[in-house]
């Protein structure tokens, strides 16, 4: 079972604002880009346990509810319409994801945690007849360094 936790800031996200500003003011996407938002995504692979209870434990560990909101889903990952979700993750070893896995196993004692994957989902609100093509251009132009990151357009 994969527990997906999407996490986003309730307060203004300065990083998303900087990305939008750079795309508009420095990279010429002003006419095609309406907005940029960002989420963190944790995909936790567990081999046993009751889903809702596990999710509550993971959320307590990974989300700061004073400033962040979250949404949990199991196995399938679905995004709302209106934007192109671009998932960026490391293709080299992700030390932070390994640390989280070890924390969940050792601090929460959930031995069934097999793997944790971590990603950033950039939500691109685009005004373009071919949004996926444009999203790829933006990802390759700014959001990733291909020598360590890979990306996926989430359909």
């Amino acid at each position: 079972m994969i527990c997906n936790i999407r996490v986003w800031l309730k307060i203004p996200d300065a990083e998303a604002a900087t990305v939008k500003n750079t795309l508009v003011r420095r990279m010429g996407f002003g006419d095609q880009l309406r907005d940029v938002k960002k989420e963190r995504l944790f995909s936790i692979d567990v081999d046993s346990g009751e889903g809702a209870s596990l999710a509550r434990s993971f959320v307590r560990e990974l989300v700061n509810e004073n400033k962040e909101s979250h949404k949990v889903s199991f196995d399938e990952l679905k995004f709302e319409g209106g934007y192109v979700p671009v998932k960026v993750s490391l293709h080299i070893e992700d030390g932070e994801a390994i640390s989280i896995r070890d924390r969940l196993r050792n601090r929460l004692g959930i031995k069934g945690v097999r793997e944790v994957r971590k990603a950033t989902v950039w939500k691109l609100y685009l005004l373009d007849p071919q949004p996926e093509t444009l999203a790829r251009k933006i990802a390759e132009g700014l959001l990733i360094n291909p020598h360590k990151d890979s990306y996926e357009i989430m359909g």
């Binding site: 990083e15 990305v19 420095r26 070893e93 030390g95 291909p146 020598h147 360590k148």
Partner: protein, 263 residues
């Protein structure tokens, strides 16, 4: 001889870098990123100092590399003017394609991974005094113009992302063949080691600094401006007297000499 110390929002080493520039007899000023970029043309050389430009948003150096001043620095580099990027400055030069010098994004400075005995013992930010061995021939590179092959410097590092990785086929071989590897991490006797603490961040082939094919653009993770004056040095050099040169001074003296020779 006038040097621009280029400051982005989040740069935090511009003051000591400017002090180092002036202390070797060059003139200089801090050049903020939002000044008209064409004003850079009036300078003879450039240093992009360390820090956390744009708070490392997206990844270290990514946002700063899109600023208009970087386009102008590309043009100034083509004229042969020297550019030295230190730490975050190195990351910006890589992200902008000025290093390794093809104009493309050919490598990444990824998160540090410290490996000992084949096991990862630590990750991420690390600061300490380390040893560097100069690899290139004397005169090859603007920031090490006065250093011979095998010169060992003890200089501090302070970064979380200095681990050179690449998926570009043949890049590391080409950097070695073209004498573009300027510094490698080593131990106090100058011996290279592939594991922590000698290779402090897991960088491919212990590479700590590289230059472009022409030698006028240098990027290095360690901070020479923090090992410039004896008062900055750690106890290992406590015997040094005020007025003596710290190891980092050689980088700035090299830049000055490089400009004099080119003139």
């Amino acid at each position: 001889m006038k040097i621009a110390v280029v400051q982005f929002p989040g740069t935090n080493c511009e003051h000591e870098t400017l002090v180092a520039v002036k202390a070797v007899g060059m003139d200089g000023e801090v050049f903020r990123w939002n000044r008209p970029a064409e004003e850079l043309c009036g300078f003879d050389g450039f240093v992009i100092p360390g820090g956390f430009s744009y708070q490392d948003r997206v990844r270290a150096g990514a946002i700063a590399s899109k600023e208009p001043v970087m386009e102008t620095l590309h043009e100034e580099a083509e004229k042969g003017k020297p550019i030295i990027g230190i730490c975050n400055g190195f990351q910006i030069l890589v992200e902008s394609g000025l290093l390794p010098g093809t104009g493309r994004l050919d490598m990444a400075l990824a998160q540090n991974v410290m490996i000992t005995g084949g096991r990862i013992v630590r990750r991420g930010y690390y600061c300490d005094w380390i040893h560097l061995r100069h690899e290139a021939e004397a005169g090859r590179c603007c920031g090490s113009f006065l250093m011979g092959v095998g010169t060992v410097l003890q200089i501090p590092i302070a970064h979380g992302e200095g681990n050179l990785v690449t998926t570009t086929p043949g890049l590391i071989e080409r950097l070695n063949e073209e004498d573009q590897v300027v510094f490698r991490y080593c131990d106090s006797s100058g011996e290279e080691g592939s594991e922590f603490p000698v290779n402090v961040n897991g960088s491919t082939e212990s590479i700590a600094g590289i230059c472009n094919p022409e030698g006028n653009v240098l990027g290095m993770m360690p901070h020479p401006e923090r090992a410039f004056f004896p008062r900055q040095l750690s106890s290992f050099n406590s015997g040094m007297k005020e007025g003596e040169a710290g190891p980092g001074r050689l980088v700035f003296e090299s830049m000055k000499r490089y400009i004099e020779v080119r003139a």
